[in-house]
């Protein structure tokens, strides 16, 4: 019965390439079996909610590509290397925290600055959590496993910094028990003017289900906006207020931001391989950009010693979008 | 090999065989002095079962048995499964019903 | 004339098998078709004994000359085949 068949050098779908496949390609490509039939993602519930959801928001997205599986993460991260990378990064952050704690760093922070940290920093765990949720959405809705993986690591990075914000919240509360650290963050996130722009942006992003629009709203508008103010501009304020630790933490976080931007660039380029996608992508940037700018402006209005923060951040987001070929 | 345990209401970890598993099994006896502790070696894995519905493992005890520093989170590297509910602390881990 | 697939439970076998028969086939034909997939393959032959067919869940076998059409069996219904 059995026909002799020659062994393969690698998975058959990778054999067309001339070169030896990398570990990344072996373990990351073509894993979404539910894309095999665009009409029926699942063997059960053919008319059910989840089949409709995937048909509508993934398979029938207005952004189309003949080869989603051809997308590659420019960092070629796999699970194994992600942990090696981030374990090293976390060791560095532990070192920063340990060293500054030993030196009594927080005791030297002026009261105006600790008030700013309460207003602009410790409530950011909520914002980071929404980015984490939004990235997890992209993970399970993307049309290719290579895209899903980038989104998964982005979700994990968000949890990473959410955790560090929580850590700092408690640490600051210990040294400055009367400021309100660890007590007022939810109230500030829900009501303080600094956060309402980001809150609206993310609540609307989280209820946007077309996977490609969700990607644009998150990775082209919302996350760049958040990173520019929360990391870069608040980092500048921190330096100007003598908070070396905070400045160094934001620089450490920026590495994850840069990685996020690298795959965002790669995915937008991949999408733009089909010229027909350009108009839709641009119109989404135009749709979301005002919310992004409003979020930056509301937040940056509270930045101490940093009057140019809003302008800088808006300019940086626009410059990133220009780099993507998608001007808002 | 019998599938049923001789201890009643057993709880505890199931560990990949090796040095750490041995140290943890010994620590279980030290940390649960009033309970019957049964260690069943299945070759590739070891079942540690403490009767009475509670098993406590202390980091300090494992370090003593192991003769080196030990982070409680390291236990996860070899803990393939466990019976009972779990409560994970930095210095102590508890299985209970 | 129409092909009707039936689910055959041949006594002594471990699995139900798909057996396509013709609506004009008699029960002896049906038994032979089922036997072709079981006897000497998964079930030992019992030479000299007659094969009978009954519908699963009934006690009495069909008459040996009953046709599939007359039996009222619907596609993929289960029949039991056994040595009498």
């Amino acid at each position: 019965m059995s026909t002799p068949m020659k062994p393969l050098k690698t998975w058959s779908h990778l054999t067309a390439r001339r070169r030896k496949p990398s570990e990344y390609e072996i373990v990351s490509t073509n894993l979404h079996w539910h894309t095999r039939d665009a009409e029926q993602p699942w063997e059960v519930g053919h008319n059910g909610f989840m089949a409709d959801f995937y048909r509508k928001y993934r398979n029938q997205s207005p952004i189309t590509h003949s080869d989603w599986g051809g997308f590659r993460d420019p960092d070629e991260l796999v699970y194994r290397t992600y942990n090696i990378l981030q374990d090293g990064q976390e060791t560095y952050v532990d070192g920063l925290l340990d060293q500054h704690n030993e030196e009594g760093h927080d005791r030297g922070l002026p009261p105006e600055w600790t008030a700013s940290l309460l207003q602009l920093y410790t409530p950011s765990r909520y914002l980071l959590h929404t980015i984490q949720m939004a990235s997890a959405y992209l993970m399970h809705m993307s049309p290719a496993s290579t895209i899903s993986n980038c989104a998964a690591f982005q979700a994990a990075d968000s949890l990473r910094w959410l955790s560090r914000v929580a850590y700092r919240t408690v640490e600051l509360a210990k040294t400055h028990p009367d400021v309100g650290f660890g007590e007022r963050e939810r109230e500030l996130w829900e009501d303080h003017p600094s956060w309402q722009g980001f809150r609206e942006l993310m609540e609307r992003q989280l209820t946007t289900f077309d996977w490609a629009e969700a990607f644009v709203a998150l990775n082209v508008v919302a996350k760049p906006a958040a990173d520019e103010v929360l990391l870069r501009q608040l980092g500048i304020s921190a330096r100007r207020n003598g908070d070396t630790l905070h400045a160094l933490l934001t620089e450490a976080a920026w590495r994850d931001t840069e990685r996020s931007r690298r795959w965002t660039v790669a995915l937008v380029n991949h999408m733009l391989e089909e010229e027909s996608n350009r108009e839709q992508l641009t119109s989404w940037v135009r749709k979301w950009q005002p919310l992004g700018v409003a979020a930056i402006e509301a937040y940056a209005a509270g930045l101490p010693e940093n009057d140019e923060g809003a302008q800088q951040a808006v300019g940086a987001v626009k410059s990133f979008q220009r780099q993507l070929g998608l001007e808002g | 090999m019998s599938a049923t345990s001789s201890v009643s209401r057993p709880v505890g970890p199931i560990l990949q065989s090796g040095d750490v598993a041995e140290a943890v099994a010994d620590a279980a006896k030290v940390d649960n002095p009033d309970s019957n502790v049964e260690v069943r070696d299945h070759g590739a894995y070891v079942r540690v079962e403490v009767d009475g519905g509670e098993c406590v493992l202390r980091r300090a005890t494992i370090e003593e048995e192991l003769g080196r520093p030990f982070k409680m989170s390291e236990l996860e590297i070899i803990m393939s499964s466990f019976t009972g509910r779990i409560d994970t602390g930095n210095d102590e881990i508890r299985f209970y019903r | 004339m129409a092909t009707i697939p039936l689910a055959a439970n041949f006594d002594g076998d471990f699995v139900l098998k798909l057996v396509p028969v013709d609506s004009e086939n008699t029960m002896d034909d049906v038994a032979a078709a089922a036997a072709a997939n079981s006897v000497g393959i998964h079930v030992a032959d019992q030479p000299g004994r007659t094969l009978r067919v009954k519908k699963q869940g009934t006690d009495t076998p069909y008459a040996r000359d009953t046709t599939v059409a007359d039996s009222g069996l619907e596609p993929t219904e289960c029949i039991e085949i056994y040595f009498e």
């Binding site: 925290l97 993970m139 | 590739a44 | -």
Partner: protein, 498 residues
């Protein structure tokens, strides 16, 4: 201490619930995705994940786990398991990777859904680790078999099986799509975290690891146990949800979902674990039977967890307890008989010594399943090989997608139901019960026999079926793992007797 312990700040990190203003709570957490309908809104913040870990600990511990697993692989490549192990062991690897690798990755999407849609913020955080865990399991279980694809084309199925129409793949897709991919978050957690991961994965990933070590395959033994250390953590996500349901008057609903997923998992594992444990593992390494593993991990350990929660044994407990001694024997006969439909080379596992083992573990085996093997062995011994592969298809269950088998002359029967003009067949009363509980979920799916009879498979013969299932294109058809060498002892018996 200059660095704080996790417990000092952990509660702040999971305190991320907020009241949306620009969209509604229902828009943020649609009931079809989030589940938990009927539970009070304020119950979600009481969710307390039992197995806590921080991101910092996670990347440290997981890096160490991978360093261990990958280094064992490197060290043991010299041992050349592929050429030195019993061929049946290699078949276990082929079956395992083909059935497991991509669905593990699929489970990462399931965990990602938890991270997005769960209304409990603590669970959303832990699900991020669950998502990463399942990426690990998908990736590492593609990496390891990829080494073998250069030696043996059948390992191509490790990557390809879930895209194919092979009947085993259909069964796996149907199961995983049902359990992991298409239910709301809460129901999925019961099916995936509780029944599947707290219960059944132990069987394959710890039970089989013992057999692997006994067979000399330490790479695989370490790999699957290492995978299970992740499962042991994220499987815990479901338990507090179950408690919340029970405490809020939804015990019956929770019980039903456990009953459904428990049976579906069990039947899948008869193929994945049952057959290899009792027939493929080389006899000298085969100490514990599938039934004994079931008794250790499921009947004893898992049932204790269920009862601790105040849930009951499934209503079909008596059926189940009988089934663990018989169903997988029928599936072994089926897979071996239709071996050209497999992506791996099955071992028969019925040499005289192995039959003694089977009879000891399953008294009465020789008089039931053994009788069928007698007929097949007679054909092999007398050179009638063509009669050892049936010329028709087995009837296939419209739920499990597995052949409908039973103990010869005892329990083999059809269980069928007509729904909206179509007749559906089931491998048991329980499968039928699951179908009838929600026929709209299952009614449109066509199993292999439906496709064959419906004209989807051309030509409509065994050759056409094999081609449809990817045999001969993805990889070669399965054939006896040992090249029928085990038949020799029977041939000798015949010669001695004659």
């Amino acid at each position: 201490m200059a660095l704080m312990e996790r417990s000092e700040w952990y509660d702040v990190a999971r305190d991320t619930e907020w009241t949306p203003r620009y969209v509604t709570w229902e828009e943020l957490f649609p009931p079809e995705l989030s589940g938990g309908e009927g539970l009070p809104d304020d119950v979600w913040r009481t969710y307390d994940e039992p197995y806590k870990i921080s991101y910092r600990e996670y990347v440290d511990v997981q890096r160490q786990k991978d360093a261990g697993a990958y280094s064992v692989q490197a060290a043991l490549e010299r041992a050349d398991i592929y050429n030195n192990a019993d061929p049946a062991w290699i078949s276990i690897l082929k079956e395992h990777y083909g059935a497991v690798a991509l669905v593990e990755y699929g489970a990462a999407l399931q965990e990602a859904r938890f991270a997005r849609w769960c209304k409990a913020p603590g669970l959303r955080n832990m699900a991020v680790f669950g998502m990463l865990d399942e990426m690990r399991h998908g990736q590492i279980q593609l990496y390891f078999p990829h080494e073998y694809v250069k030696k043996d084309r059948q390992f191509e199925w490790s990557h390809a099986s879930m895209f194919s129409n092979n009947w085993v793949s259909l069964g796996a897709r149907h199961f995983f799509d049902d359990m992991l991919m298409t239910r709301d978050m809460v129901s999925t957690s019961f099916c995936a975290n509780f029944s599947f991961e707290t219960g059944f994965t132990n069987l394959q990933f710890i039970g089989l690891s013992g057999d692997a070590a006994n067979s000399g395959d330490y790479t695989f033994s370490k790999l699957i146990q290492s995978i299970q250390t992740d499962e042991a953590r994220h499987a815990q996500l479901g338990t507090p949800l179950l408690q919340m349901m029970i405490e809020n008057g939804q015990r019956d609903k929770a019980q039903k979902e456990i009953d459904i997923s428990f049976w579906r998992s069990y039947r899948l594992f008869t193929i994945l674990s049952g057959i290899p444990m009792d027939y493929y593992v080389p006899l000298e390494a085969r100490h514990t039977s599938f039934k004994e593993f079931m008794e250790e991990w499921i009947v004893t350990q898992f049932m204790r967890e269920l009862e601790d929660l105040g849930l009951s044994k499934p209503w079909y407990w008596d059926i189940f307890m009988r089934d663990i001694s018989e169903h997988h024997h029928g599936q072994q006969l089926g897979t071996y008989s239709w071996r050209p439909t497999l992506w791996w080379n099955p071992a028969a596992g019925v040499s005289p010594e192995e039959r003694d083992w089977l009879e000891e573990k399953y008294p009465g085996w020789n008089d039931t399943f053994g009788k069928v093997w007698d007929v097949m062995i007679d054909n092999f011994v007398n050179g009638r090989t063509e009669k050892t592969v049936p010329g028709t298809l087995p009837m296939i269950c419209n739920l499990s997608q597995l052949p409908i088998v039973g103990t010869p002359s005892q329990t083999l029967r059809d269980t069928s139901v007509v729904y909206k003009g179509r007749r559906y067949h089931f491998a048991s009363e329980v499968d039928k019960w699951i179908f009838e509980d929600n026929p709209e979920r299952y009614r449109y799916q066509k199993n292999l026999v439906d496709r064959f009879l419906g004209g989807d498979i051309e030509p409509a013969d065994l050759g056409g079926v094999l081609e449809y299932m990817g045999l001969g294109s993805i990889g070669p058809s399965g054939d006896d793992a040992h090249g029928y060498s085990w038949v020799e002892s029977y041939r000798k018996q015949l010669a001695d007797a004659g």
